[in-house]
């Protein structure tokens, strides 16, 4: 096998193979709805609403999809009864219509082939594509074991495929949402409070008196109910403290913005603890009742004065003291937010530990205005035979990270790259709903692994970068066109939501549950897929839960009573935390036993060399990851990212607003495309900033192609979190090039 075998090829020379969104659709309402009232009202009357929940991001807000008499999706509105959205979707949810209408969608199964020595794709029938996948999977299972087939996934399709994989005998499963996003905080909070944060976060923001955001840009990350509650908190006069090197939207709503020097957060957190303890401001009663290791913590943070932290963080000592006192005055109605996407500098689990301990000192866990005890509702399992026991799986691949609790994508990539010492070689990949090229750092490693696998399948709704590397591409229909698993929610009160198809799948696309079942049956796993339609599964589950599909189609969301007890601790209540000791662990024996710091320690991180700026990136409210940039409605709101540059830097480098520049990182990685300069005071002079997810290089994404720069391609240096294997992504530096470095290279 040559390493260039699976070079990226464009999905090209294919007919549209389906109907382009009818042009008349635009005129149904547009031409003067208010004038011709009777017509307009008739149209409104005729809109049919279908219960769904959103799949544009992972928040899964329940919604209603409205279709007209021609079965065209007109709009999507939040479900009033849903605690994830309270009837208000975010821009991405409202723009979900574009995901359905996008004419660049994958339309039919594709199989990689060589014609006249040129690699290309040919259209295939589902039958042929699925047969091919099943036969390849069988071969690999015979030769290497089912475990050698790995699943890399995200979102709702992932759970259907996870079932297929477990039935097949493979637990070699991972998703970027863990090691590239929120894993470290689950470890940090898990070790401290014995409980994961999970999604949505159980933060009682609406009732808080003080919200502390550390690099968390709520409002730019549109985590719907969190954004809504932050707005409630503003109404209620809560103090917001934002720690961010960039003047984020949240910073603009804050009483205190601490413009921290990047990579020094742990120093600030330790110093805050120092102030709370030295000034006797911590929540003594709470700490005495629920926490272990206070004396060790007190001794540990003694040297970390605000003056010490000033030299590291550039935050003035009086600011550190003032903000610590504000938190203490609000306690226990205070939230030091755990954040999301917390894989920054490689010591992220320890930073999350510091955040958790700080919350512990303030007594916010289990108190109103702090963290509530979330309640999950479990969905009855549709009966199927017991899964076979795999000989190895994600556990074994991530062994060196003792606190990992989910598959680590980067370890799966590593196990795929041939190496004689590798006891667990991976030979095939199935990728669903995640564009690994723009999701994982160190792109060349991902591509090396892709080149090494014997067989690779990609399931997606869009022709992403990753689809171009597949041997077989399967077009999934969008969430608006399919039944899916029941959404259960961790919230103040438990609720479920259903997803019912609003329209038939467009083009020749299919739902992931169908794809899983078809592959399963071809693999002789029919017993695991004992239903005709996923509708049957949901119906069965809903009946077990005392409702029915008929009812759920009408209401979309059903709330249940809490059964696990109150949301908050009662005064002095005896409570056992989920840690080994049953207490909040300031000092972690588990960490000490494994040779890690039992309490968080500040370690200096590299700083940008001369002529380089730290590459910071974050979310734009209109987009999710890199998956929505081509969505016609969302691309209309933001179609490219810009490079935020401080005016001082712009002056030194003679950069003008709107000027096109290219970026080169410390490892000489060049940006494929150019990015326009945005000169703004909202960014420090040692850093630059861009929105994540842009710079697509697949030409089949007609709106997204070549617009802006992909931050991911500039992330080549990664520091691994030794506790759980998270990949620290914020340690890269870029220089700004004003001349096109690709002049002689055809893209």
């Amino acid at each position: 096998m040559t390493t260039s075998r699976r070079k990226f090829i464009k999905i090209s020379a294919l007919g549209l193979g389906g109907v382009v969104a009818s042009a008349s659709a635009l005129n149904v309402f547009g031409k003067n709805s208010y004038l011709n009232e009777i017509v307009a009202q008739n149209i409104v009357k005729n809109l049919k609403k279908t219960a769904t929940y959103c799949e544009v991001c992972f928040w899964k807000c329940a919604a209603w999809a409205f279709t007209n008499e021609n079965n065209e999706i007109k709009k999507i509105i939040g479900n009033d009864d849903d605690p994830h959205c309270n009837g208000r979707l975010c821009p991405r949810g409202t723009g979900g219509v574009g995901m359905y209408h996008d004419e660049d969608r994958l339309k039919t199964p594709l199989i990689r082939t060589t014609i006249n020595g040129e690699e290309t794709y040919r259209e295939a029938s589902w039958e042929e594509a699925l047969d091919l996948i099943a036969s390849k999977f069988k071969n690999i299972k015979e030769k290497y074991g089912a475990e050698s087939v790995a699943l890399l996934k995200h979102g709702s399709p992932g759970s259907h495929l996870e079932h297929l994989f477990k039935a097949f005998g493979s637990d070699t499963i991972a998703e970027p949402a863990y090691a590239q996003c929120r894993g470290p905080r689950e470890t940090g909070f898990g070790l401290t409070f014995g409980s994961w944060i999970g999604s949505p976060e159980p933060t009682d923001i609406r009732d808080t008196k003080c919200l502390v955001l550390i690099g968390s840009h709520i409002g730019e990350n549109m985590h719907n109910s969190q954004v809504q509650e932050m707005s409630d908190a503003i109404d209620n006069g809560a103090t917001i403290i934002t720690v961010d090197p960039r003047f984020s939207t949240a910073a603009s709503k804050s009483k205190h913005w601490l413009a921290i020097k990047p990579a020094t957060d742990i120093a600030l957190l330790l110093s805050w603890m120092h102030v709370l303890i030295e000034e006797d401001l911590y929540n003594k009663k709470y700490v005495d009742t629920y926490a272990l290791g206070f004396d060790e913590l007190k001794a540990h943070v003694k040297p970390f004065t605000p003056e010490w932290a000033y030299g590291i963080t550039t935050i003035k000592p009086e600011e550190i003291r003032k903000t610590a006192r504000t938190m203490a005055a609000s306690a226990p109605s205070v939230i030091v937010h755990p954040g999301r996407h917390v894989t920054w500098y490689g010591d992220d689990s320890q930073r999350s530990r510091a955040i958790a301990i700080l919350n512990g000192l303030l007594g916010s866990w289990g108190n109103r205005g702090g963290f509530y005890f979330k309640e999950k509702i479990s969905i009855p399992k549709y009966p199927h035979p017991k899964y076979p026991e795999p000989k190895w799986g994600w556990h074994d691949l991530g062994k060196q990270y003792p606190f990992s609790e989910m598959g680590i994508t980067s370890e799966l990539v590593k196990a795929t790259i041939p190496n004689k010492d590798n006891k667990h070689p991976i030979k095939a990949w199935l990728i669903a709903g995640t564009n690994l090229i723009n999701t994982l750092p160190q792109r060349e490693k991902t591509i090396e692994a892709i080149n090494a696998v014997d067989f690779m399948v990609v399931i997606d709704t869009m022709p992403m970068e990753i689809t171009g590397y597949a041997d077989v591409v399967l077009p999934e229909c969008t969430y608006l066109e399919r039944y899916d698993g029941i959404r259960s929610a961790t919230n103040r009160t438990p609720s479920i939501a259903v997803r019912v198809p609003a329209v038939k799948p467009k083009y020749n696309s299919k739902p992931a549950w169908w794809i899983s079942k078809e592959i399963g049956e071809r693999l002789g796993l029919g017993d695991y897929f004992n239903y005709n339609d996923f509708e049957d599964v949901i119906e069965w589950q809903l009946n077990k839960m005392g409702t029915s599909l008929e009812e759920m189609k009408k209401i979309g969301v059903k709330k249940f009573e809490r059964t696990s007890g109150p949301l908050f601790l009662e005064d002095g209540q005896d409570y056992e935390f989920g840690t080994l000791s049953g207490k909040i662990e300031f000092y972690s024996h588990q960490l000490a036993e494994k040779g890690f710091d039992p309490m968080p320690v500040y370690t200096p991180h590299p700083e940008p060399p001369q002529g380089f700026y730290r590459l910071n990136y974050g979310r734009s409210p209109m987009h999710t990851f890199s998956r929505t940039i081509n969505n016609p409605n969302l691309s209309d709101l933001k179609d490219e990212n810009t490079l935020w540059v401080n005016p001082k830097v712009a002056r030194i480098l003679d950069l003008k607003k709107g000027q096109e520049v290219w970026l080169k990182n410390q490892d000489d990685k060049l940006s494929t495309f150019s990015i326009k300069v945005r000169v703004t005071e909202r960014i420090r002079w040692d850093s630059v900033y861009m929105y994540h997810g842009f710079g697509h290089n697949n030409k089949k994404l007609t709106r997204a192609f070549g617009k802006g720069v992909s931050d991911t391609e500039l992330i080549s240096k990664v520091v691994i979190d030794p506790l759980m294997g998270g990949t620290g992504l914020r340690g890269n530096f870029v220089s700004i090039l004003t001349e096109n470095p690709h002049k002689n290279i055809e893209l």
Binding site: S33, T94, D235, D636, L637, R682
Partner: protein, 177 residues
């Protein structure tokens, strides 16, 4: 009855949900919009202020667009809402030029289009699409003539501004500051 919109700039996060909700509600063609977000940054690092706000037709009491319309297509209806009758609009663009808020655009079908305060929704007792969708609930809508309405109360109790007051248009969109 005088309809007004009050927008709390202290809560707006500039997410543009109002924009996309308007587009899907009113079939505004991709590439056009009836409302939009502005961002104003003032000060120098690290002493900065940022104002985000959602803008649209101000439904002015003294509306230059209505005065200058040669066909009467631009007109004011009950509640003070400024509307354009598409069938009467000849697309001359005089109203676009006269608008102090740059709130109008030429629809590809040839007529001039803009925010209607979702007149069709108001008739059914619904709020404008942008107000109903806003995740921060920073947008309020109601009757200025009713002293107990949310909008009247907010304007009574909070500091606010209007855009381009010097134009003398008497706008019906207010920004809490």
């Amino acid at each position: 009855m005088r309809y007004a919109m009050v927008i709390d700039t202290l809560k707006c996060v500039g997410c543009s949900d109002c924009v996309v909700a308007c587009q899907t509600e009113n079939d505004v063609p991709i590439g056009y919009c009836r409302d939009w977000i502005t961002e104003t940054v003032s000060g120098t690092y690290p002493n900065i202020a940022l104002e985000l706000k959602s803008e649209r037709c101000n439904h002015c009491e003294n509306a230059p667009c209505v005065r200058c319309c040669p066909t009467g297509a631009s007109h004011i209806v009950d509640g003070g809402i400024v509307l354009v009758t598409a069938d009467e609009c000849i697309g001359c663009g005089a109203c676009i030029e006269s608008c102090s808020y740059d709130a109008r655009y030429q629809h590809p079908d040839g007529y001039v289009d803009k925010c209607t305060f979702c007149h069709h929704r108001l008739k059914k007792g619904q709020l404008p699409a942008c107000v109903s969708v806003c995740p921060t609930k920073c947008m309020y809508f109601g009757d200025l003539d009713n002293p107990n309405s949310e909008v009247s109360q907010l304007l009574k109790n909070r500091k606010y501004k209007t855009l381009a007051p010097e134009a003398g248009t008497n706008p019906h969109v207010f920004y809490l500051i």
